[in-house]
Symmetry: C2
Subunit: 429 residues, 2 copies
């Protein structure tokens, strides 16, 4: 395939025309395809339908605690659910608090608490002149929305192949106004990168100036493997133990959730941290609620018992997701390889593929695709304040559409990339 940057102007004009023809054909079809959000597909949701009605009146007393799960109480969650989340994330069950259906909500609450009351006795962040936050980029847009919402100043740090640029992170935490960092350590959103053991250890060994600096370790994709063979499944060290061994036991909050394991709207989320943090969180949480939904926790405990546990469930998800990631990869290779019009990631897990256009073209590509009926995550979304300095990163979320829809959406996406690139080289934009 001839790379666009080596084509003659004549060749480019011809290519431009032919791409426009193909594009017009798509536009005529009035399509409505969506690759914007990391939503599981209906077929994936079916995998958890057992949860809908797996409890009956014989189940309502939790065996371990003797608690009636229908009634008030049990602020930190059922032991059985703690065990499931701990095993999943690779931490100790003593470190876990089980909450409601949303790990995002827990992260928000942790920042809100720190704003209003500080952490473990520190000055409430809302009383400080400035609070800063490290944001590895590209990252998860909803993380950045939380810190933006609270008026926290976000500082970009680039993601390298094995995690955030730790030289920069180590330097930045010397500033006492820097209070936190967003991390998705395994199959990161949106690049699908995995932090190396070395990076995890550098995190554990950080020497932040602020005693209330916290690593927000969103282990959202800890078991979200696309491949069943163990050699292709990444493992990372338990950050809580690692921090503890490095003499920083209280420096991390870890978040986990079954949203992309059972039901996105009705899963179980949790937070894990050191005993001192857990105590601090519970003291605040006891003013916030009498307890989270224990019936749903019990549903999950029973569901995983009867279906082989989380790993087996994830194999079933992978079976549905893998062909979709293959479609993305194969379409990129077929349509774009050798044309020098962008690059893409090939993740082994998680929910996203990241495409990088030539500089300055992400917004344009998203807009071209939109006009042909394909909705993508907004360009800029994976960056604080929606500002992609290179305007080049586009997050692809292949999970929700059917394989047929996805193939069509990817065809249109690649077409949009080619159009934008050719136009740029021709100086048309």
């Amino acid at each position: 395939m001839v790379s666009y940057d080596r084509m003659t102007k004549e060749e480019l004009l011809k290519e431009d025309e032919s791409l426009r023809e193909a594009y017009k054909d798509y536009q005529k079809r009035d399509l409505s395809l969506n690759m914007a959000r990391g939503k599981p597909s209906p077929a994936q949701l079916e995998l958890s339908n057992g949860l809908l009605s797996n409890l009956n009146t014989d189940d309502i007393i939790d065996k371990e605690s003797g608690l009636d799960v229908r009634n008030y109480g049990c602020l930190d969650g059922l032991r059985g659910m703690k065990r499931i989340l701990a095993k999943m994330a690779g931490c100790s069950e003593e470190n876990v608090i089980v909450c409601g259906n949303s790990s995002l909500n827990i992260m928000y609450d942790q920042v809100a608490r720190a704003m209003a009351s500080g952490i473990m006795g520190s000055t409430p962040w809302a009383k400080l002149d400035e609070v800063k936050w490290i944001c590895p980029v590209p990252g998860y847009d909803r993380h950045f929305s939380i810190t933006e919402h609270f008026g926290i100043k976000m500082i970009n740090v680039p993601m390298l192949d094995d995690g955030p640029d730790m030289d920069m992170v180590e330097e930045l935490v010397k500033d006492p106004a820097v209070k936190g960092i967003w991390c998705v350590p395994k199959y990161s959103n949106p690049e699908g990168k995995v932090y190396s053991e070395k990076v995890v250890m550098r995190f554990a060994g950080l020497k932040p100036a602020a005693a209330d600096f916290r690593i927000f370790w969103d282990n959202a994709y800890c078991v979200h493997y696309l491949y069943d063979d163990i050699e292709r499944q990444a493992e990372i060290p338990d950050i809580i133990s690692a921090c503890s061994m490095a003499g920083n036991p209280d420096m991390v909050f870890e978040f986990m959730s079954t949203s992309k394991i059972t039901f996105p709207g009705a899963g179980i989320a949790g937070i894990a941290a050191s005993p001192a943090n857990i105590k601090d969180i519970l003291s605040s949480m006891s003013a916030q609620t009498i307890g989270y939904d224990k019936i749903n926790q019990l549903r999950h405990i029973k569901f995983f018992e009867s279906t082989g546990g989380i790993r087996e469930q994830m194999k079933r998800h992978a079976k549905i997701l893998r062909p979709k990631f293959d479609i993305v990869k194969n379409t990129f290779e077929r349509e774009l390889l050798g044309r020098n019009c962008g690059s893409w990631t090939n993740p082994m897990g998680g929910y996203f593929v990241t495409f990088r256009t030539l500089p300055g073209l992400a917004k344009k590509v998203v807009s071209i695709a939109k006009e042909a009926g394909v909705t993508l995550t907004g360009a800029g979304a994976p960056f604080p304040y929606h500002l992609d300095p290179d305007d080049s990163v586009i997050r692809i979320a292949p999970s929700f559409p059917s394989e047929e829809e996805l193939q069509e959406a990817m065809n249109i996406f690649c077409l949009s990339v080619r159009m934008a690139t050719v136009e740029k080289i021709l100086g048309k934009d």
Copy 2:
């Protein structure tokens, strides 16, 4: 019956001795009875067991919205659930946001949001030198825990027979540091009092100095009648309409919950407010979560459809609760009437009875009862900072124990009241 304050010293000493004998007998029995919390009893929980397994795979698409309730989305909740909460509280469904399992959590979140971000553009409360809050007393301990948690200065206002002392409330809101007031307008916790229409209208017409002053209207017991005959069922005006008509549309947040209608640990809670407030709340909530548990909302919609709605469900609760309130009332009348050793409320709804000892005896009574195996809500709990200025209010929560246990607990309670009173008059304490 001879009133204690008219007995001779000799009579009192004899009474004291005889009470002590009875008390010793109870102590020997090593009882463990609990009237501390407003927890529904197992028999009440049974009424909602239909919720455990009433959904199947045919139900997962919400008919009104076409949404798959298993997946992400729908921040403000299902329409059908809004309608149920609105009808219950007597407000308009457009004013409702449906949240998770805990109205307390929503109240906490509303205060937390105001602390961190202000309300509708106001200065974040955390940045102010002082935030004050009006607390009708006695009131709900968990309300006071929220405001105490955020370091808000609480000001007591006495509850009169038809609601808080509105002369005081009207005066206090002239202070711009006063940002809110806790209200349980119907069958108040713990006295079971109902705000009169006049009081509701005076609330709606308040002229607070602070534009971000909000009435926190916790309509927790809006349908929690103990008697089925309509003459004995209180109705109060819709505070949201009332505020709107009085030219204060944004002055109130109303909270409601099915915690004491279906399952305390897994019900559905909501907040109602003006359109401008709803917009403000959703903008903050969209940073906090992708959405609450819609499956549980759908469970509730289907459950109420198939069981005759909330009013019928409340009749079934009342049938279980009424005999317990009768036990409390009858025991008080049998053991205490005419002795001049305290007074009690006779609520027509809600979850609590309030007993007032002679001044200075509440803690003592709670402690005497405790030593005979009866756990009561701590004396002082219904007051900010746990400080009952008269040390006389004790909250009785009769819902959880069986009728037999409750009768025993009430016998011990009355005995404890008599002992404390006699000792006081004898000058023994």
